[in-house]
């Protein structure tokens, strides 16, 4: 990549028309990310058709802006109302919401957007410098490796189980069980569908999230809230980021950004796994692991940094191989084709300016997101000054709309509602809901890859250990589980 083509990219992107679309994209992205049920993927899908008649730079400025904004936007409701806007922001809710309850919503939002920016910017540079290396590495992932990585994800259950490890495991198993519902991914057999067509697609992630996090919280709140209870008011402080805090956590941020970029580049994964892996890694090496789950700054930084680092990572296989790295890039691929560009290994060699244009779009898009986010960190917490008796009914209405909108399925509303009640009962009896969500998210990755690995190796169970990468991941998963278990237990003694 020559300097001149990098500068050509810059001049293309800072043209007023492109810049305007980019800013608009980021704005819409943040809104889509922030509404539970609408995700970055929905946003990009809905708006791809309007790029039909546009040039490459404004079209991709708009869509990639949406992409960056969308992955960040989900953290806003996660922090403010315990409702992750998208599956990738679940781990943010674990620490962001407690911080907001302590009256530090502004600070939490500021950490979230600044870390997102750092992660997004880091991965954009990776796209520029390491695209080919990262793409080759991502291709090394076969079914065995997918399974083993998901196993590391499962080890996070130890970290989010709270007081009782047993209850956490039970909750995780129930999640995996729910993930079995629907059409069997390998044989096409119907499981637990009771002849209802709507259940065939299984328990959708977003409605499940909305139910388990937002509705259960709202039900719980309705029990304690009195009509006289006031919202959280008070000065919003700590919005401006302090360089020192981020510098102290530079290793954490770097690790999270690397995890995000690599996970993003692996086809078929996405921000959810990246965020969980970084979260448990952050907890593992934290000096204050007991803060995790009660408003840990490191927790928010780790998740948000890595889930936005996914953006640059996921674009790598898209532009180098024509294979999408996550659900959004799958849609971006068709947007590329609309532009008359054929995705594939020769895309970059034939269009040398493409990468630098994308790089600048991502860099500027992330910066615009930072500005909007910091501005918003001053405003959004005011939402919490609404008295709970008004706020929570509004949240519930949004939840119902959101869970309907994902798949246009009224059945999904009932899933949300049912899981909301179930989550409420779980919390009453001291069962953590986060492991259940992990089960629902990781189940559909683990099962087909486990079975695919076995089928292709003619039912040889050692295949998970004889492949070096897979073996390393499995050892890591066990080591993580063991270390985190020891840490949580020694803390109590």
């Amino acid at each position: 990549m020559s300097l001149s083509s990098i500068l050509t990219g810059l001049t293309t992107v800072i043209a007023p028309q492109c810049l305007l679309w980019l800013i608009l994209g980021v704005m819409i992205g943040i809104i889509f990310g922030a509404i539970p049920g609408l995700t970055a993927a929905t946003g990009v899908a809905v708006f791809t058709p309007i790029t039909f008649g546009m040039d490459f730079a404004p079209a991709f400025g708009f869509l990639l802006g949406l992409y960056c904004g969308g992955y960040y936007g989900g953290s806003i409701p996660a922090i403010l109302i315990h409702t992750p806007g998208a599956p990738g922001n679940v781990a943010t809710a674990l620490d962001g919401y407690p911080m907001a309850r302590q009256g530090q919503a502004g600070r939490a939002l500021s950490y979230s957007v600044t870390s997102s920016w750092l992660g997004g910017t880091f991965s954009s540079f990776c796209l520029l410098i390491f695209a080919n290396i990262v793409a080759r590495f991502a291709l090394q992932f076969g079914s065995q490796e997918y399974f083993s990585v998901a196993l590391i994800g499962l080890s996070c259950i130890v970290g989010v189980s709270g007081d009782s490890m047993l209850k956490g495991i039970i909750s995780g198993c129930m999640g995996m069980l729910l993930a079995c519902i629907g059409v069997d991914p390998m044989d096409g057999v119907l499981r637990y569908t009771f002849g209802v067509p709507a259940i065939m697609k299984g328990i959708a992630t977003v409605p499940a999230l909305v139910g388990l996090f937002a509705l259960s919280e709202a039900f719980g709140k309705s029990e304690t809230t009195t009509s006289a209870e006031k919202g959280i008011t008070g000065k919003i402080t700590g919005v401006m980021p302090h360089f020192k805090e981020y510098w102290e956590n530079k290793i954490l941020l770097l690790k999270s950004a690397v995890i995000g970029t690599i996970v993003g580049a692996i086809p078929g994964t996405g921000p959810t796994i990246a965020a969980w892996l970084s979260y448990s890694e952050a907890k593992r090496c934290s000096k204050k692991p007991e803060e995790f789950g009660n408003g840990s700054v490191e927790g928010i930084m780790a998740c948000e940094c890595s889930n936005n680092a996914v953006t640059g990572g996921a674009i790598i296989p898209m532009v180098t191989l024509g294979i999408p790295g996550d659900p959004v890039t799958a849609i971006l691929l068709s947007a590329l084709m609309i532009q008359g560009l054929t995705p594939g290994p020769t895309l970059i060699t034939k269009n040398p300016d493409l990468i630098s244009t994308i790089l600048w779009i991502l860099l500027i898009g992330n910066f615009v997101m930072l500005l909007f986010g910091l501005g918003g960190a001053k405003l959004f917490p005011k939402l919490l000054s609404i008295p709970p008796k008004i706020l929570f009914p509004i949240v519930m209405v949004m939840c119902v709309v959101g869970s309907y909108a994902v798949n246009n399925s009224s059945f999904d509303m009932w899933i949300s509602f049912g899981l909301g009640i179930f989550g409420y009962i779980m919390i009453k009896f001291g069962f953590p809901v986060a492991p259940m969500v992990l089960g629902i998210i990781l189940g559909p990755i683990m099962e087909p890859n486990f079975r695919r690995a076995l089928i292709s190796s003619k039912m040889d169970y050692t295949t998970f250990f004889t492949r070096p990468l897979s073996c390393v991941f499995i050892i890591l998963a066990f080591a993580l589980t063991f270390i985190m278990y020891r840490r949580t237990h020694s803390k109590k003694d």
């Binding site: 819409i28 809104i31 889509f32 922030a34 509404i35 609408l38 993927a41 929905t42 899908a45 809905v46 058709p49 039909f52 291709l139 992932f141 076969g142 629907g182 059409v183 069997d184 991914p185 390998m186 096409g188 057999v189 119907l190 067509p197 709507a198 065939m200 697609k201 086809p267 078929g268 191989l321 024509g322 294979i323 999408p324 799958a330 849609i331 691929l333 068709s334 084709m337 609309i338 008359g340 054929t342 995705p343 594939g344 290994p345 020769t346 405003l379 959004f380 939402l383 000054s385 609404i386 509004i394 949004m398 709309v401 909108a405 798949n407 246009n408 695919r452 089928i455 292709s456 003619k458």
Partner: protein, 348 residues
């Protein structure tokens, strides 16, 4: 305090507006279910069914159910057709995505909709010709009337570059020597899987099916060296094939396919395999004659426009319009073929 409240209100309004804009198509679809129950009986009562008279159709929004997620290729086909056809009919056609279970969620829903012509459905070979015969779903091919075919793509037999075969003969010979070679497809009960079984039954070879989650996952596995043999549609292979990342031994079209011009057909190599994955527009069975004629004519006109030709070209798929009768004949033929394959598998 007052200022803060006003601000919050405005934020909420923006949020709910954005949410509404997304759920708008669904509002249209639920409207499409309730109103026709009042209007259709009077319409069909007024006209003689044997002699289609003039009907006032369409008078409101039509729904086109796309059984795949928004943003994918099938969704783009739906949106292109919906745009142009709606323009010709003078009514909006909204695309409603009901993804899940390889399209059978959408198919089940479409089959259960009112047959008043206000609900259309885009099917693919997998969910009409395969799923009803290997899974318990509430529809068959007879649950629908045909409007016309949109596109069809032949299947490719893809092998990695170091696979020791350059044509189908060598491939068959190799697999006979090494039974149980893995082959990947985009999913369980997909038309690609059926096609490979058809090939197995024709040539007497035995392979192991490894289903993946979509064409791009199969591509990733092929490029990463985790898979040596796969069956994919031409649209999934053409970019990688052009760059020489794997070989296509044969393509299942009757003549050489313009998307993969260098790949020989199965027929030219002496194998009678000519199956394609079709995408067609259907309506629930039993739509009034006069109404379905309006839809068919509008569809024929839509598919002949430059707008559709350009949009399909940019997606790398052919415009292969077939009339309702031809579509029906083709779909029944493919369905019979696949049914025979499934019966063969069950008896084996």
């Amino acid at each position: 305090m007052k200022k803060a409240f006003a601000l919050i209100l405005s934020v909420l309004m923006v949020l709910s507006l954005a949410a509404c804009s997304q759920s708008a198509p669904s509002g249209g679809s639920s409207g499409g279910q309730s109103t026709p129950s009042q209007s259709t009986p009077s319409q069909s009562g007024g006209t003689d069914a044997a002699e289609p008279a003039k009907v006032d159709f369409p008078t409101k929004t039509i729904t086109l159910i796309c059984p795949y997620a928004a943003g994918g290729q099938s969704d783009m086909i739906c949106r292109t057709v919906a745009d142009k056809m709606g323009e010709l009919l003078g009514q909006t056609i909204t695309v409603v995505n009901t993804p899940g279970a390889g399209g059978s969620v959408g198919a089940s829903q479409a089959a259960a909709e009112k047959n008043d012509g206000y609900t259309m459905f885009m099917c693919s070979a997998g969910n009409i010709s395969v799923v009803p015969y290997c899974s318990e779903v509430s529809y068959t091919i007879d649950s629908f009337d045909m409007i016309g075919q949109a596109t069809d793509t032949p299947f490719c037999l893809v092998v990695s570059n170091d696979f020791p075969a350059e044509n189908v003969d060598e491939f068959v010979a190799y697999v006979k020597e090494h039974p149980g070679v893995n082959f990947g497809t985009p999913g369980a009960n997909s038309s690609q899987e059926m096609f490979m079984h058809q090939m197995e039954q024709l040539t007497g070879i035995e392979m192991t099916h490894v289903p993946y989650g979509g064409g791009s996952e199969v591509n990733a596995a092929l490029l990463g060296g985790h898979l040596e043999v796969a069956c994919l549609c031409t649209t999934d292979v053409y970019a990688n094939l052009k760059d020489g990342l794997y070989k296509v031994l044969a393509v299942s079209s009757e003549d050489t396919d313009p998307i993969v011009p260098d790949a020989p057909t199965f027929i030219s190599q002496g194998y009678d395999l000519t199956c394609t994955c079709y995408y067609s527009i259907l309506v629930p069975a039993g739509v009034e004659e006069a109404v379905i004629k309006i839809l068919r004519d509008a569809y024929a006109e839509t598919m002949a426009t430059d707008y559709v030709a350009d949009a399909f070209k940019s997606m790398g798929i052919p415009v292969s319009y077939l009339s309702a009768e031809e579509t029906s004949e083709k779909m029944h033929k493919v369905t019979e073929e696949f049914k025979a394959i499934i019966d063969g598998l069950n008896n084996a």
